[in-house]
Symmetry: C2
Subunit: 311 residues, 2 copies
């Protein structure tokens, strides 16, 4: 039994994986290091979409169908906001707004994001530990054929349609890992990279100085689940982005991005044939079903990953 | 026909009066000078309850029964906020939140409250002009038998139950009248003090340097409607407050507070007997029904007040 499991997480894919992981590992044994590169300031509120997606799911409050946001959500405030401004492309639910209002209010008082996140997590009775990758602001900006866009403008306002040519994590060079982040990697019994976009979900985490180095040096096995299956992403722009950035849209391309620190790479059965090439990167491979339709599939994937970590 | 009517306004009582006034005077001829002493910062949002009550009513969006807030309102964000903090005694509706979020965001960018208010007013298709009494923060603090309380803590959290012994308008001495406020008084064809609490709704407006002086000097007739009828307030703590502050709970006490600048004092029929005493303050009196049950009573009161202004 693994006592301490640390998960590097983006948004929707990570939340689904964590939903399964908590069926297999006691939630209090799980530490999540969350991406904050997607965070955005809108209407004077600081919104952390990836952290919230993970927290809501672990709290049992997440909307299972959409994969993000809260269940039974209403959008009355947003509807009213449309009378005041045209910049209402970001979906802000009424219940979700409470999180943003509370967080923004504490941040403005000077509390670091890690402390604010811990308070939100406690308030929602989440038993896992959720660590923002950094207390310093890091923001993902994309050079696209529609101009230079911050991540949410690209992703939500432009529906991830523009072709991504460059990716920058502004602020990453000067950012420090959040409190306990390096420790969570160094002292874990297993470190898992969730099936999140390697470029813009896991990428910003790896860009925070010290995190990638600690992943290389930890004595824990580091496992990654490919978010690309048969050359396609289950959801989101990962495949198109890997392609347009010149990596190629394949699980192998993801493995290459992680080759300096990942020990075990989990491939979907569809990608069984990629085993030899991935193993040439000096990784062990595990092949199993990675599409998480419902809780049984989620739990099975978590069990397979933990099994690989144990062996 | 009076071309320019300026109304000094608190919250609920003023909104009801204005609802009638707009039946009798074209809305675009009406300028409201609104109390901001009740404004409050909660959860990092700047809330202007009196301005909003007036704006929502003039926009036709106000909840007629409650007298404040928006019709068809939900409170999902507030419900969720209760998981994060115990300081949720102030009723923030979901649709109402949009106003506070928009306003707070612009204020934080450096826009003055007058400009932000004008944008809200335009966005909600209100045709009257709404002027905050000042762009500088003024806050009403009350010395009570439950300690020193800001207005909303006294009024909402403590249900206006503590006995009020002192009243301070913090910031008033250093505040300047908002743009166009003095002009709206000096150049009006009639100035009306709505039936609002004279101490904590009209009081803060009068405390902004220059406003009381301009009321004394304007060539327009200045008319005040007593919010006290038969020694009682229709709504709110006005009577108890006048009593505990030593003014006495009567329409006469209200007239005395305004005696240096009001020309015409409107008494309810119930208070007919107070005429001689009020007239000794060198005011003309008008006696008419002032209880505004529905739109007919509201319009009749507006007509009576305007009739007195014309004569």
């Amino acid at each position: 039994m693994l006592r301490r499991v640390t998960v590097l997480a983006g948004g929707v894919g990570a939340a689904r994986f964590l939903d399964g992981l908590t069926q297999v590992v006691p939630p209090e044994n799980i530490t999540v290091i969350g991406n904050t590169g997607d965070d955005v300031e809108l209407h004077g509120l600081t919104i952390c979409p990836d952290l919230d997606t993970v927290i809501y799911m672990l709290a049992g409050l997440g909307d299972q169908e959409r994969g993000w946001g809260l269940a039974n959500e209403t959008f009355h405030a947003l509807e009213s906001l449309k009378r005041f401004t045209n910049e209402t492309w970001f979906q802000l639910g009424d219940r979700d707004l409470a999180t943003h209002i509370f967080r923004s209010s504490l941040l403005r008082c000077g509390f670091p994001l890690s402390e604010v996140t811990a308070r939100i997590v406690r308030s929602l009775d989440v038993r896992s530990t959720i660590l923002p990758m950094s207390d310093n602001p890091v923001r993902t900006w994309l050079g696209t054929d529609a101009g230079r866009l911050d991540f949410q403008t690209y992703f939500v306002k432009h529906h991830a349609e523009p072709e991504v040519r460059t990716v920058d994590f502004i602020g990453a060079d000067e950012a420090a890992p959040g409190p306990a982040v390096l420790q969570a990697i160094a002292e874990a019994d297993a470190v898992i990279l969730a099936p999140s976009n390697p470029v813009i979900s896991i990428g910003p985490i790896l860009a925070v100085p010290g995190i990638r180095e600690t992943l290389r040096e930890t004595s824990a096995p580091v496992l990654a689940i490919s978010p690309i299956i048969g050359g396609k992403a289950i959801k989101g722009p990962a495949a198109a982005m890997l392609e347009s950035l010149g990596h190629g849209a394949s699980a192998l391309a993801v493995a290459k991005l992680y080759s300096d620190f990942v020990d075990v790479f989990i491939l979907d059965e569809t990608d069984r044939d990629l085993r030899p090439e991935v193993e040439q990167l000096e990784m062990r491979t595990v092949v199993c079903p990675t599409i998480m339709k419902g809780l049984p599939e989620k739990s099975a994937l978590a069990r397979a990953v933990l099994g690989a970590a144990n062996s």
